[in-house]
């Protein structure tokens, strides 16, 4: 009884796990763009054909088990039975199965080749261009513009307009990462010293989760990001807002927080446009408060998590590049008050 119940519960768990793969925020079948649609089409084609093949093979196997054995007939050649009619028929069946298998595999190869050729085709010239750099363990995102003063930098969140092709340039300064937003496109590796260019497009607004898909060290699992697809006018407003420097802090606490930031250890790694903090080593914090997540999708961006992160980042994401910062409680509150003004 116990054992039967165990089997039943583990079977239920396995089924739940299998089904869970078909839903949730990271899902290749939850298609949101042209590229993902092609990849999902390839997936459906493969799964449909292989299902038919599997059913045929299993039916043949059961048929072979069930069928009565044919006795060999004597022939002219001593010690060599001549093929029966059944055996000749079997030869035709096996032969045509081999031919069909070959045709199926060739069809798979061709389909996969053409899908890949189309999904990784060169992006159009007038596409919006975004440079994505994978660091251990966060994503640096730069919206390129011919006018350098209009280049926008952010981290771990990529906003894109719907219905417009977006050209993505990938690069990595340290190890190999892989850029993967299942709802929008397949995986693309970020290889140090080698730029990869491809394009994505979202047809409907939404938030799509992405994840580093190439093991890149201790915190590979905590290297995720979100792609927000928005209506073009909302996107333009967002981009316009991101181009602004950080606002001048109002109030005593925020002002003191700003002074702590620019004179303390924060300014050695982080940039806040509009202040003297202009290091390019950690994520750009100019519009930190406008983001939903901190530490590459590890924690929600709110005052509590931000305080915990600043006080002891190594307990939340061991091995990451940010050292613990020793601040008096009062100063921590001031710093948080300032960071919250960075809309």
């Amino acid at each position: 009884m116990m054992r039967a119940a165990n089997y039943r519960s583990s079977a239920a768990t396995a089924a739940a796990l299998l089904l869970a793969g078909c839903q949730g925020p990271q899902n290749i079948l939850d298609v949101a763009g042209e590229q993902a649609e092609r990849i999902a089409g390839l997936w459906y084609f493969l799964i449909a054909v292989t299902t038919v093949v599997w059913v045929l093979v299993v039916l043949t196997m059961f048929g072979a088990i069930w069928r009565r054995r044919v006795r060999a007939e004597p022939t002219d050649i001593p010690g060599e039975p001549s093929p029966t009619r059944g055996e000749r028929r079997l030869g035709v069946v096996v032969g045509s199965a081999v031919v069909l298998t070959t045709i199926t595999l060739i069809a798979f190869t061709l389909d996969s080749f053409f899908v890949e050729r189309r999904t990784f085709a060169a992006p159009p010239d007038k596409a919006l261009e975004i440079q994505v750099t994978g660091h251990q363990w966060w994503w640096q995102v730069r919206y390129m513009d011919p006018d350098p003063s209009k280049i926008v930098e952010t981290a771990n969140e990529i906003h894109i307009p719907t219905g417009r092709k977006v050209k993505i340039r990938l690069d990595s300064p340290d190890v190999i990462h892989s850029f993967w937003v299942p709802s929008l496109h397949g995986k693309r590796d970020l290889i140090p010293g080698q730029e990869a260019i491809f394009w994505i497009e979202a047809d409907r607004p939404g938030a799509y989760r992405g994840q580093c898909a190439e093991f890149c060290g201790w915190q590979h699992a905590h290297m995720s990001f979100w792609v927000y697809a928005e209506q073009p006018q909302l996107f333009d407003a967002w981009l316009q807002q991101q181009r602004q420097p950080a606002p001048e802090p109002q109030g005593e606490a925020a002002k003191r927080g700003r002074d702590l930031f620019v004179t303390g250890p924060c300014a050695l790694c982080h940039n806040i446009s509009g202040t003297v903090a202009s290091a390019r080593f950690g994520p750009d914090l100019t519009h930190l408060a406008s983001r939903d997540w901190i530490a590459a999708g590890t924690l929600p961006n709110n005052r509590g998590y931000l305080a915990a992160w600043i006080a002891d980042p190594q307990s939340l994401k061991p091995g990451n590049r940010m050292p613990a910062t020793f601040l008096a409680p009062e100063d921590m509150q001031n710093l948080l008050a300032y960071l919250e003004t960075l809309q």
Binding site: T263, G264, P265, A267, L268, C269, F281, A311, D312, Q314, S315, P318, G319, P323, A324, T325, F326
Partner: protein, 218 residues
């Protein structure tokens, strides 16, 4: 049908019957057994994973340093008093490959290269030679980075956490080949004008001349 083994492999068996041959095989077996035992006993000792701490212990390792009240001192500069290493022996940093490579990364990130280049010097003194104006001990280098020195070296106290200053100081020593070869970085990411730290022969420190500006009251 039965066939005796000797008719199947007569040559092999005849050789095996030879007594000295059997003794040889037995000896070889004993040697193999001994080697396996040795490996079992000493294997785990030789394979010790390097300890890596992400977090200075205790967390107050980033607390305030001991403040020196006077910059004046008799004779050559001594290693500073009880620098805060978060409970670690400072020489741990120069024996640890992870700390050294982190120091190498920070050396560029915090723009040490702006004045010292990649060890060759420029605005600041070179770090790959045997001359050390303020001492070559890791604690001297820690003091140089955290307190600053006259004639241009800024003080990074309060800007860089002590843990990271130790890493940079250890890396600075590796540039002159003063750290263990096995732990030193073997490949820089920048353009390579000199051999890597791990293949730099040690430059025995010869001290240096303290510039007059450093001895005069500030």
């Amino acid at each position: 049908m039965r066939s005796s083994p000797s008719t199947m492999f007569p040559a092999t068996l005849n050789r095996l019957r030879d007594k000295s041959m059997r003794a040889g095989i037995f000896a070889a077996f004993l040697i193999l057994l001994g080697a396996a035992l040795l490996l079992l006993i000493f294997g785990p000792i030789t394979y010790v994973r390097e300890s890596r701490e992400f977090r200075p212990s205790p967390i107050a390792g980033t607390g305030p340093d001991v403040i020196r009240l006077s910059e004046l001192q008799p004779g050559l500069p001594l290693p500073p008093q009880s620098p805060n290493t978060g409970g670690e022996n400072p020489s741990w940093y120069e024996r640890n490959a992870a700390a050294l490579s982190e120091g190498q990364r920070l050396f560029s990130a915090f723009n040490c290269v702006g004045c010292h280049a990649h060890g060759g010097g420029g605005i600041g003194p070179p770090l790959i030679d045997e001359t050390w104006i303020y001492g070559s001990d890791i604690r001297n280098i820690f003091a140089t980075i955290s307190e600053g020195r006259p004639n241009g070296m800024p003080s990074f106290r309060g800007k860089i956490p002590p843990e990271q200053i130790w890493q940079i100081a250890a890396y600075v020593r590796s540039m002159a080949g003063l750290t263990p070869k096995q732990a030193s970085p073997s490949r820089p990411d920048h353009l390579q004008a000199k051999a890597s730290e791990s293949s730099t022969p040690p430059q025995p420190p010869s001290g240096g001349t303290i510039p007059p500006a450093a001895t005069a009251p500030q």
